[in-house]
Subunit: 377 residues, 2 copies
Amino acid sequence: MASLSVPRHNHLFSRALQARPKPRSLSGPTRIRMSIRENGPSIAVVGVTGAVGQEFLSVLSDRDFPYRSIKMLASKRSAGRRITFEDREYVVEELTAESFDGVDIALFSAGGSISKEFGPIAVDRGAVVVDNSSAFRMDEKVPLVIPEVNPEAMQNIKAGMGHGALIANPNCSTIICLMAATPLHRRAKVLRMVVSTYQAASGAGAAAMEELELQTREVLEGKPPTCKIFKRQYAFNLFSHNAPVLSNGYNEEEMKLVKETRKIWNDKDVKVTATCIRVPVMRAHAESVNLQFERPLDEDTAKDILKNAPGVVVIDDRESNHFPTPLEVSNKDDVAVGRIRRDLSQDGNKGLDIFVCGDQIRKGAALNAIQIAELLL
Amino acid sequence: MASLSVPRHNHLFSRALQARPKPRSLSGPTRIRMSIRENGPSIAVVGVTGAVGQEFLSVLSDRDFPYRSIKMLASKRSAGRRITFEDREYVVEELTAESFDGVDIALFSAGGSISKEFGPIAVDRGAVVVDNSSAFRMDEKVPLVIPEVNPEAMQNIKAGMGHGALIANPNCSTIICLMAATPLHRRAKVLRMVVSTYQAASGAGAAAMEELELQTREVLEGKPPTCKIFKRQYAFNLFSHNAPVLSNGYNEEEMKLVKETRKIWNDKDVKVTATCIRVPVMRAHAESVNLQFERPLDEDTAKDILKNAPGVVVIDDRESNHFPTPLEVSNKDDVAVGRIRRDLSQDGNKGLDIFVCGDQIRKGAALNAIQIAELLL
């Protein structure tokens, strides 16, 4: 578990960012931590003070990711802050070109411009970069990987081989959607997908979560809401995703779903449309996904396929009206799927509607990146 | 404007329920109220103490609906409460069979079982019932009307003819969706519609709005949320609509969109699928709607059609990322449409994505019912 030196545990957003108790079952009453190992890789975490950076540390610890050493890197502004990680104290260092000397795996989550500047430098110095930004995702030479979906895309890349490489982490909404859609795609081939998202504050960073909380308090007190991160009231409201809108009318977040799906599935013909909306939820995304298949797929078979899919949990209790919610998947590894039903508007059992929820910071970002890093070992 | 005897204006939900300033422009500095007229119909409002009942009164007043007399009806529990309406004080009466003697138009919004019991009684006594519940919507003999869409369905029904009739108000999510989809349907014929909703608390009544506010305060204070109306946390969360789930996996709210669209458009072949989700918003619904047309329809033409559609306002500023939000349409009459764009996943310019927001209590319920009542005069 990681904690910054000034935790704000009285606040909802910081509670939402708090690391959860470890999800593993322990074999005995005590357990010796094995993560620091001489033969493990040397790691760097770039953007360690951000929401995803902090989650990188939580996930590394939760999964006993082996490491020889770990560097905490951030902007000059955050340099000098202290971070406690696995009972040791670290000082955040300013990110420079020299930061990557001797680093085997660099986990980046500090925004696209930092990735564009320092990603290639880290690769030059021999590191394998797992990049959480959108900077390299659509670069043909860079694998875009969800480990449960297309691990083969990075099969020749390993850490500590002396030559660096870049691997891109897909966008959160793509990961969460494809975790559920891919097992069905493998069985019946998805021809077209219509996605509407319900996206949490966390996708815009910890400051956006803080703003949602602050605004909510203000609105409840009858005060005008503080709008710094977003241009409009977020509390008790929702709005089209804040990503820039392109000339085709789609915003960049939506086009990520369109383009990344094609690349990850290695299927240039799959048709995707998406409408991305921010809702006043802290850290987990939901997505309503309508699927059109090439081959018939009934809902019971779909449910069985999803129950057996790695990293997926089915929550689909029609009688008690219990289906996935963002809150239930918050701080959880698995993506939850429910509302699995035959689409009445499509003939021949070739359509399904599903509703998917996944933790944006965890599987949508940090967990997926650490799983990629595990494939590098 | 109407107000119950114990307003709770310090609360967010009651602020959200407050009547807005009149939207009309006045021709002079003073204005004589003309609503009470000897030749106007006698009106009864059933369920007058509920969120929609209160909105009935606001809308009647806003639109200078002419009336000879008005009866405020509710359950025994609410009988005796005082309501101020257009500067007169009324006492809420208990709803009985005799309530409808001499009533020309009865506006019902007290739930399906009250409508089933008292709707036919009111009709027997010569009243035209405009029913906001789902009780009679799919009854073949009962017109289901959105005045901007299918006024012809009720063309033979008038008030004060001595014989009663029933007219059903569609479900809120259907009204809001079809206000935007119908003008496009008329031009290019909708073959299939995929709808995902973002529904406000108000659809479950004033108590649900109150619960959302209470829960939000509790969660911000680190307390467990009070769950009475809904089975789960609503604050900073969302969940599949609370309507019962049917054996086909759709919930009743979703099937309303499917079936009511067919009836209102008088088109048994139109294909609709819907996923209905409750989001932590007070009183306006949003809907992401994917449309598939028989004939080509480009986005500029669609935008022009919508700009000229009655009861619709286009908010579609790509450059400043300004699109409809629930907050902007709250307490407004018009349904707002934006994110109008060619669907990348459909060929031949035969698909559009749009995003629609409408006030659930106003156009989604009370305003639409009063517009129906206006057609009865």
